[in-house]
């Protein structure tokens, strides 16, 4: 019994995942097509990248609620740079990333130096960014031909190269955002698993004081975790802008919760019970696959959030419930 539970905790999630992969394919053969595989992956990239970002802050026992709005403001900034300012798309990318770094840095300083609890600091930041993103365009979506405050029309447009980041495909099959996601995931996995920085981040999450007493500049690491979270969110924002092709004011909604859910589901993968890059990626793919497969089997669209909730609760039971705690 004990062995079975241990096995279930470790591999249960992956077995369920493999099982549903098989099941969907048997019931609906087109599920297994390459193009469908990539369509699943394309569907989860933005949330997946954000989940990787939030993983960093979860590792240091923190939290970043501002990831979704950071991505959203980068959509607006990219559009503003290209459409209103009408300058090169490179600046759209650079400015977005710079903004992501800044937001992360401010979050980090608020939490580490001003000692504001992480949830509150990033909640405040979230609102601040949500408001800020509306200001340059006076609350309007940014698209070519939009009316500017001085009565002229915006003349710039999204650069082809920029759109390629979101809508392009390699070999006419692999979507570019998926490639970006994969590269990021591999780098982050490597950093967390095989470098001293990853080791120290996890250690800080375990016992901050002990790490401090081991001579580590804990504050700097914690700030770094938020900077990384902000930076990664801005990359997600750039890809989102390139996918949507327009500075749409509503684009950030729902991203935060989906990303956090994926990262939490990740705790259950291989029973590690910790935030981890592999888990976050697997978690987000699992949800994407489930929704895709169930939709193919005619599951109505409005049940999607319900399904996500079930997966999350089940994953949390795997993670926390099955490991019996002793009195």
């Amino acid at each position: 019994m004990e062995k079975f539970v241990a096995f279930a905790i470790k591999y249960g999630f992956l077995i369920v995942m493999a099982g549903s992969f098989l099941g969907f394919g048997l019931l609906e053969p087109s599920f297994w097509s390459w193009s469908n595989m990539f369509s699943i992956l394309l569907g989860i990239t933005i949330v997946g990248i954000l989940a990787l970002g939030v993983t960093f802050t979860l590792i240091v026992d923190g939290f970043d609620l501002s990831i979704g709005s950071t991505a959203a403001i980068c959509v607006m900034i990219s559009s503003y740079v290209m459409v209103v300012l009408n300058i090169d798309y490179i600046y759209a990318i650079l400015l977005s990333i710079l903004l992501g770094i800044t937001i992360g840095l401010v979050n980090g300083l608020l939490i580490v130096k001003a000692k504001i609890p992480d949830l509150l600091a990033t909640l405040g930041m979230m609102f601040l960014i949500q408001g800020l993103q509306l200001i340059p365009s006076a609350g309007m979506s940014i698209g070519t031909g939009m009316m500017l405050a001085d009565g002229t029309e915006a003349e710039g447009e999204f650069a082809k190269q920029f759109l390629f980041l979101g809508q392009g495909r390699l070999f006419d099959l692999i979507p570019v955002p998926v490639v970006v996601f994969a590269v990021l995931a591999i780098i982050i996995y490597f950093v967390l698993q095989y470098t001293k920085w990853g080791r120290i981040l996890y250690a800080i999450g375990g016992n901050e004081k002990a790490v401090k007493l081991a001579g580590v500049n804990v504050e700097r690491y914690k700030i770094m975790a938020y900077v990384l979270s902000g930076t990664i969110s801005s990359i997600a924002g750039i890809l989102l802008a390139a996918r949507i092709g327009r500075g749409d004011v509503t684009s950030g909604g729902g991203l935060l919760l989906d990303a956090v859910a994926a990262a939490l589901i990740g705790y259950a993968v291989l029973g590690v019970k910790k935030p981890n890059a592999l888990g976050s990626v697997v978690g987000v793919i699992f949800i994407g696959m489930l929704l895709n497969g169930l939709t193919m089997l005619s599951l109505p669209y409005y049940t999607q959030d319900f399904i996500k909730g079930i997966v999350l609760v089940a994953a949390l039971i795997f993670t926390f419930g099955l490991s019996k705690s002793e009195i």
């Binding site: 609906e28 087109s30 369509s39 394309l42 309007m140 939009m146 327009r246 729902g254 193919m296």
Partner: protein, 352 residues
């Protein structure tokens, strides 16, 4: 709530009905594949799923699909543009026979739609310009919609009014309705735009009410509002009531719903008139359009659904209290005579 219930009922009933009649024998005189071949499967991919307009549109589409023996799968995640794009790819992977794209951002949806065409799947679009000659564009006649409401305004004020304009630039249907506004202003110099305001921040009605209240303080000379979208109009009405100016100012809008009717028929309502199309008809026309595309029947590239004008006076006089009564009393509102072929069964009973 009631609408939702009706929608669900109609879908369930429609499924039973559709499965019995159309599927087995095919439709009489219909071209392939509607002559009893395989079951046709179409996808309705939506940017928005909530709101009475959206729900009624869906119900209309569902009923027309059932009458044609078509299986309709709805994809939608409220206001998630990239998800909408993803749904197109999923529909392609599911090898559907046709796709209706309902709203969305042109920039986001153009490429997925083109990819669907490339994969050999016909696409029709409602209220989103996909800039593709192979994709028929269905739309309410938004210019006419604006024009009907504005004509009523001009008539009520004898060509002289101080108008507050509530709209948002950059939204395709609103931009089209804006064209009529520009025309009217030129045509009637007595109609003056005193101020322009408007926001799409949700909740739309109350956010706009706040803006309009401020506007009323700054510009007491305003005696009419043009708000070419009913949610905006609701905000204006709310603001007028809160500022106790409902008897001094009149409001002209576009779109209609039961909720709107309830407000319009109040004795002291400032809401004078609204121009509207029937979302259920649009849904039905969209399904007919995609069915014709699947059957390789040529259809026009631009399909415009003509609107009707409803004034508060009429509604009160005819004792209309909700959409159901409205449909009964205005039969023309129900079935738009567009894309009708003898082999396509039409719902003649009037929806709901």
């Amino acid at each position: 709530m009631k609408t939702k219930f009706l929608v669900v009922c109609s879908i369930i009933l429609g499924m039973l009905f559709g499965a019995n009649s159309a599927l087995a024998n095919g439709l009489k005189g219909a071209p392939a594949p509607f002559n009893g071949g395989k079951k046709i499967h179409i996808a309705l991919i939506r940017q928005m799923t909530e709101g009475e307009f959206m729900q009624t549109f869906r119900a209309g589409a569902q009923i027309q699909a059932n009458l044609l023996g078509i299986k309709l799968t709805v994809f939608g995640k409220s206001m998630d543009n990239q998800a909408e794009a993803n749904f197109v790819y999923q529909a392609i992977n599911m090898k559907v026979d046709g796709i209706i794209i309902d709203h969305g951002l042109s920039e986001t949806m153009m490429k997925p739609a083109a990819d669907a065409i490339k994969a050999g799947i016909p696409v029709v679009a409602f209220d989103v310009d996909l800039k593709n000659p192979k994709i028929p564009q269905i739309a309410q006649d938004d210019e006419l919609l604006g024009m009907l409401a504005l004509k009523a305004l001009v008539k009520d004020f004898n060509g002289k009014a101080n108008v507050g304009y509530v709209s948002i630039a950059g939204i395709l249907p609103l931009d089209k309705r804006d064209r009529s506004w520009q025309k009217i202003k030129k045509e009637y110099p007595g109609i003056k735009e005193i101020v322009k305001t408007g926001t799409l921040e949700s909740p739309i009605a109350s956010k706009n009410a706040n803006q309009v209240k401020a506007v009323l303080l700054a510009h007491p000379e305003i005696n009419a509002f043009f708000a070419p979208y009913d949610e905006l109009g609701k905000g204006v009405v709310q603001a007028l009531r809160e500022a106790r100016k409902q008897d001094k100012v009149k409001v002209y809008t576009a779109d209609i719903s039961t909720q709107d009717i309830r407000e319009m028929i109040k004795k002291d309502s400032p809401w004078a008139a609204t121009a509207a199309t029937n979302p259920a008809s649009i849904g039905a026309v969209s399904v007919r359009a995609i069915a014709l595309k699947i059957a390789h029947v040529k259809i026009p590239h631009n399909i415009l659904i003509p609107p009707m004008l409803f004034t508060a006076k009429e509604l009160r006089a005819m004792k209309i209290k909700n959409m159901k009564q409205l449909r009964k009393k205005f039969p023309k509102f129900n079935s738009v005579d567009l894309l009708n072929y003898p082999w396509i069964p039409v719902d003649k009973k009037g929806l709901f």
